[in-house]
Symmetry: C2
Subunit: 593 residues, 2 copies
């Protein structure tokens, strides 16, 4: 079955849960308005259903081929990419000075979910290009921008991010690729990068690589890393393509999922070294890379949301078609759709509620980033920047945890058919798996949340957010709507547990760092479950306030989340605050030392 973008869910999430409406009303978005948002999402949904979704399975089955250093993508992919750029989809939130439409990142976030749901392996390519655009726009010289930025924004050329080396994964500082300055101001780069997404492909004439490398006299670790722009083909002064640069795909990975996305080993230096141009200053590469990584992390979170929604739609459809057994109380011949069985309902409700929560966490991150760059008041910008920083690890990790869980349940709803590749449920399950790993594993995100985001300003970002969530819970309690069930109570308890847990961690980040680190992952889960529950509740309240006909279904979703997922917050508090010793015992328990 195909994919249909859930536009009304997305708009409710964007406008209310994520705060776009409030930001619009505060004037942060200039003359952009909610009607434009709706129109863009409608069109994006059509393009995704018509062009991208039908290629998802084709891509999975065909994969890609590497021959003589050239990668061939699956049938139909180059043409789809052409239509993608022609439709202006690559340029949605690109800088207007370089041909972009300058739409809010929040809109692009919703679009990213749509591309990921339709075809996550396809959507990954522009996701990396977007990061490249951002780094170049923020840190590149005017000359480099003039040559490269417009073509990256339009999508005529794509971008890559090249950090990883065999010995340098999560530990980026361990990279060894070398860059030597030449008399003409360029650099010669030699080394090998692995796991380079779309490092080589046949969808565009040129590829612009962003490569982290080390100068000969650079300090050790992350302080000695510089960022270089390394084009696949050199670019002449008139913009035409010049000679081939010395950066080649020397291998591609055989992966669990994302078969259509080429994951390349890139070799530089077999022919004297690749020519690269410094981005930003020498030894400041990590700073530039972090610019790229934050948005890339949000993008990967949105991949989790997208794959989850696709898996949910497919499972719901199957559950309505597949007939097995009878509903309780029904007798006689015949059978009912499996949707009637409470256990199947539970799975589907969990899938949809988790997906909706992750969606809003991601969109809220995007709105915060928007406000951090668009608001006029520096204080508002700073607060939004802190909010974005706090939300980013959750947008990435919670959403991709959910992408995996929902894809798992999607297979389960299909029963035996779920294990058969032709059904398609298994592809979502395989594709989703990498999202919890790349752009910083979810463990790294959890550590970032505890050590940098929670601890950065004595917890101020967290307290500010919890105050807002608490206000939402008060509204739920005040609504006295029996359809909310025990939503208010459950969320209140979750918030109190999260407050206590945050304080406990804050007290230990510096004094007992291993204890804090041991609690990082359950803390992120606890935070996500509490935040997600409150955001869904705020959307349900908004739907009621606006008199939406669908308000009861949003109330039901919020209630399900509160009573089944947010309710775990208390247990997770205990895991964080009472189990550090049990984790530290791993040396004795697992190694016998």
């Amino acid at each position: 079955m195909t994919y249909r973008a859930p536009i009304s869910d997305m708009l409710l999430s964007l406008n209310h849960g994520a705060g776009l409406k409030a930001a619009l009303e505060a004037g942060h978005y200039g003359d952009f308005d909610a009607d434009i948002a709706a129109a863009v999402l409608e069109e994006a949904g059509k393009f995704a259903s018509d062009v991208l979704a039908p290629l998802n399975k084709v891509g999975d089955e065909h994969g890609i081929k590497l021959e003589d250093g050239k990668v061939t993508t699956a049938p139909g992919w180059p043409d789809a990419y052409k239509r993608w750029t022609e439709g202006g989809w690559n340029a949605v939130s690109g800088p207007e000075d370089f041909g972009g439409q300058g739409l809010p990142l929040a809109i692009n976030a919703a679009c990213t979910e749509i591309w990921s749901a339709a075809n996550v392996a396809f959507g990954l390519c522009p996701l990396l290009t977007a990061s490249a655009i951002e780094a170049l726009d923020a840190h590149g010289s005017d000359e480099l921008k003039t040559i490269y930025l417009e073509k990256l924004v339009s999508g005529e050329w794509t971008g890559t991010m090249q950090l990883t080396e065999p010995q340098a994964g999560s530990d980026v500082g361990a990279l060894r690729t070398r860059a030597e300055k030449q008399a003409d101001g360029t650099y010669r780069i030699k080394g090998t990068k692995i796991f380079i997404t779309y490092g080589e492909h046949d969808m565009t004439d040129n590829i612009v690589h962003f490569v982290l490398a080390r100068l000969p006299d650079a300090p050790a670790g992350t302080k000695g890393i510089s960022l270089f722009l390394v084009p696949k083909f050199m670019v002449n002064a008139d913009g035409s393509l010049g000679p081939r640069n010395d950066i080649y795909a020397s291998g591609v990975e055989h992966k669990l999922g994302m078969h259509a996305s080429p994951t390349c080993t890139m070799t530089m230096g077999d022919h004297g070294g690749a020519i690269g141009y410094l981005i930003g200053e020498e030894n400041q590469g990590m700073r530039c890379m972090f610019t790229m990584m934050n948005q890339a992390r949000l993008g990967v979170g949105l991949e989790g949301v997208g794959v989850a929604d696709r898996a949910y739609q497919q499972a719901l459809s199957y559950a309505q078609e597949r007939r097995q057994g009878r509903a309780v109380g029904k007798k006689g011949d015949g059978s009912d759709a499996i949707f009637v069985h409470p256990d199947v309902k539970r799975m589907l409700m969990r899938m949809r509620a988790q997906t909706a929560a992750a969606r809003t966490i991601c969109y809220a991150t995007a709105v915060a980033i928007d406000v951090s760059t668009r608001a006029k008041d520096p204080k508002v910008r700073a607060e939004a920047a802190a909010r974005a920083a706090l939300l980013t690890p959750m947008a990435k990790a919670y959403s991709t945890d959910i992408g995996n869980e929902v894809a798992y349940l999607g297979v389960q709803v299909h029963g035996g058919m779920g294990f058969i590749e032709e059904t398609g449920a298994a592809q979502h399950y395989r594709d989703a798996r990498i999202t919890a790993i790349y752009e910083g594993t979810n463990g790294i995100q959890a550590i970032d949340l505890v050590t940098r985001k929670l601890a950065a300003n004595g917890g101020a970002s967290v307290w500010a957010l919890l105050d807002e969530l608490s206000a939402t819970v008060k509204q739920v309690e005040a609504s006295n709507d029996p359809a909310f069930g025990t939503t208010g109570t459950k969320l209140r308890e979750a918030l109190e547990a999260l407050t206590r847990t945050s304080k406990w961690l804050l007290e230990r980040v510096a004094s007992a760092p291993n204890d804090a680190l041991a609690g990082a992952t359950p803390y992120l889960q606890q935070f996500g479950a509490t935040l997600g529950g409150c955001l869904l509740a705020s959307e349900a309240l908004a739907a009621k306030a606006e008199g939406l006909g669908d308000a009861p279904r949003y109330v039901a979703l919020a209630r399900f989340f509160a009573e089944n997922i947010a309710v775990q917050a208390g247990a997770l508090e205990r895991t964080v605050t009472e189990s550090a010793e049990s984790v530290a015992a791993a040396d004795a328990a697992l190694l016998g030392s």
Copy 2:
């Protein structure tokens, strides 16, 4: 890396957590003793490491081929199967009258874990043969037993279980395959079965199919199903093979995992119908099939344990080799094994603790089945049968949930390498996925637990088990060993929560069945987490009592489980008892009706 059977863990689990030692001391096992158990497991471990484990990846990569109705298995597989039968491994717990060794099922359960860990797709074949043996032994005529049983016990021939049809999956009663009685007393069977594991292969000369079919005048639903033995080749009076029977593999599935195990569509009737022999009585097929299914369910649970342990061993090894970053407090150049990071320790501890808990739940089920057939006192047998019935759905569902979770974490520990197929972690993740589905989905198991096992005797089986677990918790509390941390408290709370939840469900199974069914899956999770925690604690106590040098590591594992996993029991109680309405709201929330 290869697999090494964790013999000392297995023996502690078997003897203490699972209660083999007590059953031996009570005389239920005759002259079998614990030394024989240890010797068998040692040998099984060697065979698994030497012969089966090296073929696991080969099987995954080569898969199987179907040409002209014949299935070719992966290179080395027929030879390994030959060595398997020659080593007597097929006959471990087979009936002695037909060449079996008659060892306890508990020993075979441990062996099944070993085979599954080494090569789950291989181990699946004898698992189904074992079920066939059981059904034939329990319900077959003496004539059929004489012809078929010895060769099934030795493994010279393999068996299949044929229930599923396109419209009849979980709803077995919907099957349509027809059987008509012939003048000679045999039956002619026509129909199509799907998802038939090892329905066709090249490892043995003959295959003995056990097929569910419907007689022309049979009542509708499950009451009109009969079980037939349908050989691939007819068997002459002298035991030699006769003509080919009319049952053919007409297709094989392209699956997410278990690539080496042929999953066949079986067609009967293209040449007049397959000749079948009735097992048991007409229309009593479901009764016979349940005999097969209970052990098959335990077997699948052990697949979950096996794959989990394999994934754990591989992840632990990687975590000790792979160097990234520094331990907290370490400065300067160089990097540490990722094992030093608390978040990695948490993942590995969770993997091992969950695996150990699932193992003991499965072994305890096997011991209960043994006692239910071996004890002299009918009361002891009946109590053991009730215990086995209660534990079976948990052995199946909890262990396979864990198999999937642990394989997921195994990929995560590997980071980006986990997503690369060559690493092998992804194979475990793919292979594990089916275990939560086949032999009754885990949702079906949860429903069985609530509606049949809990409710069967007014909860008596549950109360008896909880009393035993409570005694264990008392011992933990009395031990005053600080290494247990808060294990006693956490398990006590979990037990109390489980007691309340069980009562709540019991009150509703009849009066509000949809509410009870909505809570089935979280109840099974809650029960598993509580039971697993108590069983690990009992093993830790036993290890201390026996003065094992490894006692501290078992205490640490039990503590980790209690403080991180059993601690969820309270939240799961609330999910069961307070969220039925939120599940029922699925109609409105998901379908808008």
